[in-house]
């Protein structure tokens, strides 16, 4: 199953997104990498690396990020793990996590999920 890592400046936000996605997809491997080690706001290279290790399989891992350093730090972690199937998705973090986790649980491949996630960014709510 494709795994997910939720990267946010906020530990609570990252964990909240994980919880929200789990409501719909209990089996999908999904880990939070939010905030810094001391609980303050920020993005941690180490937390992202550990979260990837936690959910990684040969099916790959998709990273969802909030903004700024979350994107740049996730990118640098991916560069440091050459040879692994790791990709960042460019989509809203909460909606993307739900869509992706459900897709993974239903057996979709990393490529298929990424295609779905591209649509998530363009869907209007109203």
């Amino acid at each position: 199953m494709v795994g997910f890592v939720i990267v946010s400046h906020s530990g609570k936000l990252a964990q909240g997104v994980v919880d929200l996605a789990r409501m719909m997809a209990r089996e999908t491997p999904i880990a939070a990498a939010g905030g810094l080690e001391d609980g303050s706001f920020g993005t941690s290279f180490e937390k992202i690396s550990n979260a990837i290790d936690e959910v990684y399989s040969d099916d790959g891992v998709i990273l969802l990020m909030d903004m700024g350093s979350a994107v740049m730090t996730a990118e640098m972690v991916i560069e440091s793990m050459e040879g692994r199937r790791l990709v960042m998705a460019d989509c809203p973090i909460a909606e993307g996590a739900v869509t992706g986790a459900v897709g993974s649980e239903s057996g979709m491949s990393l490529e298929e999920i990424l295609e779905d996630l591209e649509q998530v960014g363009t869907q209007k709510k109203l």
């Binding site: 400046h9 810094l36 303050s40 706001f41 920020g42 993005t43 941690s44 290279f45 180490e46 903004m67 700024g68 350093s69 740049m72 730090t73 990118e75 640098m76």
Partner: protein, 206 residues
């Protein structure tokens, strides 16, 4: 600049960032999320702990370690951005026992390109690039004209401060400050400011 001098210079940069951390954080507070000074000071504090073990390494390796440490410990956008900058500069001067002006300029150019790529940014978006790019151009011009390292660095620092002033006149279109857009006009960019402080310290060691 050899490894010994480089390590001493990086320590002085760390001390300057530590001394200015409240000022930098206040600048960031006005237009963004108010963590720039605190984050950079934390990063350079961790860098300081690594420097003792680097005395027998070449300057390129020292710069690479500084970059990797900043990426791992800063926690905000300045981590990946300064981290990438230092790592790229380290790679550009790889194999050299000393960094002279031409290799510094080459390293700075590589760092600028790394920051642009990492931040998906360019000049004029109210970022550190608004001081980095003019500084590099001014240094290069003065160096080509005079072959005088002190004069070249002085020109670079002056251009970097002008870049900081320029960031007051424009709205942020990249980074956290872009969320307040037009209302960021009138305020100087914290990243451009911290880069200029860093360059000022290096210039004092040349």
């Amino acid at each position: 600049m050899n490894t010994e001098k480089l390590i001493a210079t990086i320590r002085k940069v760390g001390a300057r960032i530590e001394a200015e951390k409240d000022f930098l954080t206040e600048l960031d507070n006005v237009i963004a999320d108010g963590d720039h000074g605190i984050n950079l000071a934390r990063g350079f504090g961790e860098v300081d702990k690594k420097l003792d073990a680097m005395a027998d390494k070449e300057p390129g390796d020292v710069l690479k370690t500084v970059g990797m440490t900043l990426v791992s410990t800063v926690g905000g956008a300045s981590g990946p951005l300064y981290g990438t900058g230092f790592m790229k500069m380290g790679a550009a001067v790889k194999g050299k026992a000393e960094i002279d002006v031409p290799s510094f300029l080459e390293g700075l150019q590589t760092a600028i390109e790394g920051v642009m790529q990492r931040g998906r940014s360019t000049k004029g978006e109210k970022t550190m690039l608004d001081s980095m790019i003019p500084a590099k151009e001014a240094m290069e011009a003065r160096w080509n004209e005079t072959q005088d390292a002190k004069a070249a660095f002085a020109a670079g620092v002056a251009a970097a401060w002008e870049g900081v002033e320029y960031t007051k006149t424009i709205a942020a279109t990249k980074g956290r400050a872009s969320y307040i857009g037009e209302r960021s006009i009138g305020h100087q960019d914290p990243g451009a400011t911290s880069f200029t402080m860093l360059l000022e310290i290096v210039a004092g060691e040349v």
